[in-house]
């Protein structure tokens, strides 16, 4: 018995050693969502929490024991992962709800000021900035059925900015101006830009010289990373009436020649990476798929928003393998860390599930969620719509979303390093739990 324990301990150490860095959204350019580390199967304690001035929907990245993330308070932060102490912060001109990327000592990040930042990873000094054509949220007349129907209203659920990906000396990111940009990673010089019909806030995935990204114009694109030329495009659903069931907010995962991506048209799609041809789709009964799927060992792990379902489907066929009813919407992307799946839930909990059974192992609830001010949640932690959503007139939906987020919602995708789980919350804290 002791012998087996020893072996298990050594295996865990090996897994930890493999996890040297987590330098961009979802950990790798293909956005597989597979962590090199093993997450704990039991929650023990909060190691530390790092307070910021506003919500955090960004996901942290890690290199050399330093965490980097963006805050809605406009700062890009570098924090010591051991102690939770700030190393530096750099203020941008707007909220920075993106996941930074790290490469060659540079931190790359987007901001709502419409600028793209390259910062020195050690000091936070600006190495260069690039001005896009301007940021904006997705917007439409009468969006989600809000009134007045003939007035353009910004989408309160367009919460993330595009997270950059770095490959072959270039840094790639999407923008609210509808462009997919390619910049020289060293100098910030524009290599090319690719125009789509609407906002791109998904993070481009990169595989075999091709970038894969969806736009709110209802198309998903494959673009040659060297030239910026379109290779193919795939048409998702449209919703001209209330613009609810349209657009790719999910960032794709590209694994073994297949692109897996969620869509607001309620489908999770599997597309052939070479041709864009649909291999299968999984319909979610009018519930958005905002999360980026994790693809591990022939399984696709994803979750939905309104229906709050946690799914594991067969990567080859799209057939359901496991399904679990969760309590609230999920925008945070699932991370597979060993035999544990971690995901943030908008009711202010971080959840750990068993990869084999999808059963919950443990969860962590933020203080704001426990306090449940204004009864935003029911006693069993489901969203209590009558208490935050009173009307679809004027700014009421925006106010409702604010109320909803004040309970410490977790949009942030968790990061696992050396047995510690790091994530942000809309209560303004970056958490380290173990």
């Amino acid at each position: 018995m002791i012998h087996f324990r020893f072996i298990a301990g050594v295996s865990a150490l090996l897994l930890v050693n493999v996890a040297q860095a987590q330098s961009m959204f979802r950990g790798d350019p293909g956005h597989s969502g597979k962590s090199g580390a093993q997450a704990t199967r039991q929650f023990h304690r909060v190691k530390w929490k790092f307070p910021t001035g506003d919500r955090i929907v960004s996901s942290p990245v890690w290199e050399n024991k330093i965490l980097y993330f963006g805050g809605d308070d406009g700062n890009i932060y570098a924090v010591d992962s051991e102690t939770g102490r700030q190393i530096w912060k750099r203020t941008t001109g707007g909220p920075a709800p993106c996941t930074p990327a790290l490469a060659n000592g540079i931190v790359y990040a987007t901001s709502y000021d419409g600028k793209f930042y390259a910062l020195d990873a050690k000091t936070g000094a600006v190495k260069w900035k690039f001005a896009t054509e301007g940021e904006r949220r997705f917007e439409a007349k009468g969006i989600h059925g809000l009134q007045p129907k003939n007035q353009t209203i910004a989408d309160q659920f367009d919460v993330f900015l595009s997270s950059p990906v770095v490959a072959n000396g270039a840094v790639y990111f999407g923008s609210g101006d509808g462009n997919l940009y390619a910049l020289d990673a060293g100098t910030g010089e524009l290599k090319w830009k690719f125009k789509t019909g609407d906002v791109i806030h998904a993070s481009p995935a990169y595989a075999d010289g091709v970038l894969f990204v969806g736009s709110w114009d209802s198309y998903f694109y494959a673009v040659d990373a060297a030239t910026g030329k379109e290779k193919w495009r795939f048409h998702g659903g449209e919703d001209p009436l209330i613009h609810n069931q349209v657009g790719f907010q999910s960032s794709a995962a590209v694994v073994d020649g297949v692109v897996y991506v969620g869509c607001r048209d309620s489908n999770l799609y599997a597309l052939d990476a070479a041709t864009g041809k649909e291999k299968w789709k999984f319909f979610n009964e009018l519930s958005w798929v905002i999360v980026s799927p994790a693809v591990v060992d022939g399984k696709v792990v994803f979750a939905t928003s309104d229906s709050s379902l946690f799914h594991i489907v067969d990567a080859a066929t799209g057939k359901s393998l496991l399904k679990q009813q969760d309590k609230a919407y999920m925008f945070s992307s699932p991370v597979v860390a060993g035999d544990v799946v971690l995901i943030g839930v908008l009711n202010g909990t971080l959840q750990a599930r068993d990869l084999k059974t999808a059963e919950p192992l443990w969860d962590f609830q933020t203080e704001a969620s426990k306090q449940n001010k204004g009864w935003i949640l029911t006693a069993d932690r489901k969203f209590n719509e009558p208490f935050f959503y009173h009307s679809n007139w004027r700014e009421a939906p925006t106010v409702a979303t604010d109320r909803q987020l004040n309970i410490g919602a977790i949009f942030s995708t968790p990061l696992v390093m050396n047995g510690v789980v790091y994530f942000g919350s809309t209560d303004g804290n970056l958490y380290a739990i173990e």
């Binding site: 989600h144 009436l241 001010k373 009864w375 029911t378 006693a379 209590n384 719509e385």
Partner: protein, 236 residues
């Protein structure tokens, strides 16, 4: 003698409690981080049945009906119909008692949460009566069918009207999409040629114009923010 005295005492206490509970009551429920203002109107309709309605400022609730309203001596409880509740959270319920100093104090329960409240009487009751179903024309009675499309999906609606004397018309309403939905109906009304059907629970409204000549009820079905044209034709 002792029995008579007990009965007399009990009946007086009940009568006093009933008189005391009737009226307009205003106050707050202390939910965490928020004082929820409540304005409750209660009436015993001159000693008949208890009825009531509630106003919750800021929550879009004006005159929601109180249901399952029970008054026993100084204790009362009721639920709110069609407001501050849904399928997920269940309905909002209040349980209260008259305090010796003339307040109405108790617990406000909703979604498994509970908060204390205290209300003070501010005047006579001003109850908002909910709209009541009316009867429908003889030609409208019977089964009607029609198809519509919403969010890109085809749906089939069946509506079966039947008059129920003084209670107005009753309606069996079924929508078949990917599954069969039996729609709970809150209101059926006919005013001239206009026929209105409402389901508070499903957030569905159908408003249509009945045409005897065309043999149809032509109108619009709305569900939340979405609207779709719907033409109903009578089943032969």
């Amino acid at each position: 003698m002792r029995l008579i005295a007990t009965i007399l005492f009990a009946s007086t206490a009940l009568s006093q409690a009933a008189e005391s509970a009737a009226g307009r009551w205003e106050g707050v429920a202390q939910i965490p981080g928020h004082e929820l203002k409540l304005i409750v109107d209660l009436s015993d309709e001159g000693g008949k049945d208890w009825t009531g309605s509630i106003i919750i400022p800021g929550f879009g609730v004006k005159g929601a009906q109180l249901v399952d309203l029970h008054v026993r001596g100084g204790d009362l409880d009721f639920a709110i119909k069609g407001a501050l509740g849904n399928e997920r959270s269940g309905r909002a319920e209040l349980k209260a008692h008259l305090t010796p100093d003339g307040h109405l104090a108790g617990d406000f329960k909703q979604g498994g949460n509970s908060a204390p409240f205290v209300l003070s009487k501010t005047g006579p009751a001003q109850i908002d009566l909910p709209p009541r179903s009316t009867g429908v024309a003889k030609e409208v009675e019977g089964e009607w069918k029609g198809d519509y499309e919403m969010m890109g999906y085809a749906r089939h609606a069946t509506l079966k009207f039947a008059n129920r004397g003084n209670e107005g018309a009753a309606l069996e309403f079924t929508i078949v999409g990917k599954k069969v939905n039996n729609v709970p109906v809150s209101l059926v009304a006919q005013d001239g040629d206009f026929v209105t059907v409402k389901s508070d629970e499903f957030g569905i409204t159908f408003e249509g114009r009945f045409s005897k000549e065309a043999g149809e009820i032509k109108g619009t079905l709305s569900q939340g923010p979405m609207e779709a044209p719907l033409v109903l034709r009578k089943t032969p």
